[in-house]
Structures are given as structure tokens and as C-alpha cells.
């Protein structure tokens, strides 16, 4: 089971800034282990976010994204009290969803 994300969402004016910290190894698939064997790629492949259940953000990630990635984006029209939910899915099929309230 994947470790939880840290999500912070702060409203300012007519938008909210969402900051997400994800816990993931993000193995690129290019590295070799001590015995010279290739370490298989293991990284987040899809990230989606929704505001009060309505999708507002989606992206596809590859092996170039760092370990324990940090993501920041703005959502138009989000107000304090709204629920922001973020989901990631990795190339091994593991997934994690966390939710935060806009403050």
C-alpha cells in the first residue's frame, strides 16, 4: 500500500493554489543494480485531480519525474471549504487517492 500524499489547497481571489507532495520511488528503468541487472521502471503514469468530484486536472507522467514528486497547480473558481481530491496511478497498477479541503 502506497504512503499518503500531503495536499494543501489555499484559496486566493477567484482561484485556489493546490500543492501536492507524493510519496513514490519513481524508478526510471534506466538504472542498473549491483549485479548489473536493469532495475525495472516503476513510476507514476497518470495523475488526476477533481474539485468537489468534478475533474479539473489530468496529466500523464513518465520516468523523468523525480522521486517523491511535488506538483503545484491553480484551480479557477475554487472557494474555501471545497474538496480537492488527487489520484495517482503507477505503471504497476498501484494507485492512491487523497483529499484535502480548500482553506
Amino acid at each position: 500500500m502506497a504512503d499518503p500524499m500531503r495536499i494543501r489547497a489555499q484559496a486566493a481571489g477567484d482561484k485556489a493554489t493546490v500543492r501536492v507532495l507524493m510519496s513514490h520511488e519513481m524508478e526510471s528503468g534506466q538504472r542498473k543494480d549491483a549485479s548489473g541487472k536493469l532495475v525495472p521502471a516503476w513510476h507514476i503514469s497518470d495523475v488526476t485531480a477533481s474539485l468537489n468530484g468534478k475533474p479539473v486536472f489530468s496529466c500523464e507522467w513518465g520516468p523523468a519525474v523525480s522521486k517523491n514528486p511535488f506538483l503545484q497547480f491553480n484551480v479557477k473558481g475554487a472557494k474555501a471549504g471545497d474538496k480537492v481530491s488527487v489520484t495517482w496511478k503507477d505503471n504497476k497498477g498501484d494507485t492512491r487517492t487523497d483529499e484535502a479541503t480548500v482553506s
Binding site: 500531503r6 507532495l21 510519496s23
Partner: protein
């Protein structure tokens, strides 16, 4: 003769202009690194380790199925806030001066029944040693912004300070290095990393007040024990045992020197 003099002046001016340019270049690259660090500070993955540490503190674990909430870090059982900035210190129950991590090993052993060997003989970033690092990260974070004030009232604490001081200046290893070779002078650096002067208070959030820290380049959370171990490795000394008296004594020396400096733990490094 006048011609010769003139050309000499021209060269001198040329040299001055060059060194001026180099100085400006250095400043901007250090500034750029500072900006990069600032950008990273927002969203420091150390938070993930803090969350893990908090859970490890509160969750019943080990053969005795107990939490660490009764662990005495020096300010009474279960008191976490402010404990970090007063460690290492003398503990009556063990009769020893202990740093945060060696104290955690004691608590994990007495309260939870976890064999200290699992941490001491373990590997960095694995198993119970990784758990100790996460715990140290969370405990350290509870004293963020507080000033270091290590106790020196016990004779053992003063002895450890003296031992730490001698270790700091002790040269040895294949490169004939001491801690003081890198940290005994103002303005030294390795590549673009500024090296703090550790024989006096180096400033808020610098040196002893900066670890545990998350290292972006390898994605690892490093505790003070890990930091000291790697300093010795870089000096080509034999690596000290985890939580050994050598590492605790150095911790006392650095911690007492950092008196009044505010903790910025957990920080983020390149």
C-alpha cells in the same frame, strides 16, 4: 623604461578586471543555488518522513506491542516539543549521554522490545534504522524555530563536550583529515556547497540546526547520525558505529556550539 611601466599598469588593470568578473560570477551562482533551494523548500519531501515518524511514535509496535508515547526524550515521558534542541544530554536511567537517535533506540528497546541490533547493525534507509530516521525527523520538526540550548550541568555532558572537541580536531585517515579541515575556517565550500564553520555558533538553521534533512539528489532522508557517518566516510576514516560514543560526543560539541541558533529541521539539501 616608461613604456615598460605603462604595459605593467595595463596588465595590472586587466588582472583586476578579470578577478572582479570572477567574483561577480561566483556571487550569482551562489544566489542561483539559494533561489533553487528556496523553490525546493516549498514542498519539502521531508514532510512525508515527518508523517511516517508521527505514525511510528503513536502506533503500538514491536514484541511488546506498545507505542513510544511514554518515551522520555529528556523533558519527561512523552514530551516531544522542545526536546530536540536540548539533545544530546545525560539520561539517568541509562547513565549515559545520548543523542536523539541513541535515545530512540533505548526507547524502542525498553518500551517496544525491539532489538537495538536491528538499528545499530542495520543499513541506512532500511528497516528499523529508517524508522529511527523518520522518528527523528518528526521529533526534530516539533522544535522548529526554537533555539538550541544543550544542558552542560552534568559532569558527563561536559566530558563529552571535551571529547567531541578533540575528535573534531583529530587528524587521521588516508587523507590526514579532521572535521576541522573543512569546518574550522570561514568561507570554505565543497563544489557549490557552503561549509559552515562549526567551532562557534554558525547561525540559524545551519550545521547542527539543519539535520535531519532531505537530500534531493538521492531522494534520501538523512539524520544527524547519517550526516556524521558520511563526514567520516568522506575523510576516509573507518565509519563510526551507529549511535556510538564518538558520534554522540561530536553531537554534544556541535550542539553546545550552536547555542542560541534556531532549528530549521527538517531542511532540504541539494
Amino acid at each position: 623604461m616608461p613604456i615598460k611601466k605603462l604595459s605593467f599598469t595595463a596588465i595590472a588593470v586587466g588582472v583586476m578586471a578579470l578577478s572582479g568578473a570572477a567574483l561577480a560570477q561566483e556571487k550569482t551562482s551562489i544566489q542561483a543555488i539559494e533561489e533553487y533551494r528556496e523553490m525546493l523548500q516549498d514542498g519539502n519531501p521531508a514532510e512525508l518522513f515527518e508523517a511516517k515518524g508521527e505514525e511510528l511514535w503513536k502506533k503500538p509496535r514491536g514484541p511488546k506491542n506498545a507505542s513510544l508515547e511514554k518515551c522520555d526524550l529528556g523533558k519527561g515521558p512523552g514530551v516531544v516539543k522542545g526536546a530536540f534542541v536540548e539533545l544530546p544530554r545525560y539520561f539517568k536511567d541509562t547513565g549515559k549521554v545520548q543523542d536523539l537517535e541513541s535515545r530512540l533506540v533505548t526507547c524502542m528497546s525498553t518500551l517496544q522490545g525491539i532489538d537495538p541490533k536491528e538499528v545499530v547493525n542495520g543499513q541506512w534507509g532500511r528497516g528499523e534504522r529508517a524508522n529511527t530516521t523518520a522518528l527523528a525527523t518528526w521529533i526534530g520538526a516539533q522544535s522548529k524555530g526554537m533555539a538550541f540550548n544543550l544542558p552542560q550541568s552534568n559532569p558527563q555532558e561536559r566530558t563529552m563536550y571535551e571529547v567531541g572537541k578533540r575528535l573534531f580536531f583529530q587528524r587521521g585517515g588516508a587523507h590526514d583529515f579532521a572535521c576541522a579541515s573543512c569546518h574550522g575556517e570561514e568561507g570554505k565550500r565543497i563544489r557549490l556547497q557552503d561549509l559552515p564553520l562549526l567551532t562557534k555558533a554558525p547561525g540559524d538553521g545551519v550545521g547542527f540546526a539543519a539535520w535531519p534533512a532531505y537530500r534531493v539528489s538521492n531522494g534520501q532522508m538523512w539524520s544527524m547520525q547519517h550526516r556524521l557517518n558520511d563526514c567520516y566516510r568522506q575523510q576516509r576514516f573507518p565509519e563510526p558505529d551507529f549511535a556510538s560514543d564518538v558520534t554522540v560526543a561530536l553531537g554534544v560539541y556541535l550542539g553546545v556550539n550552536a547555542k542560541g541558533n534556531k532549528s530549521a529541521v527538517p531542511t532540504i539539501k541539494r
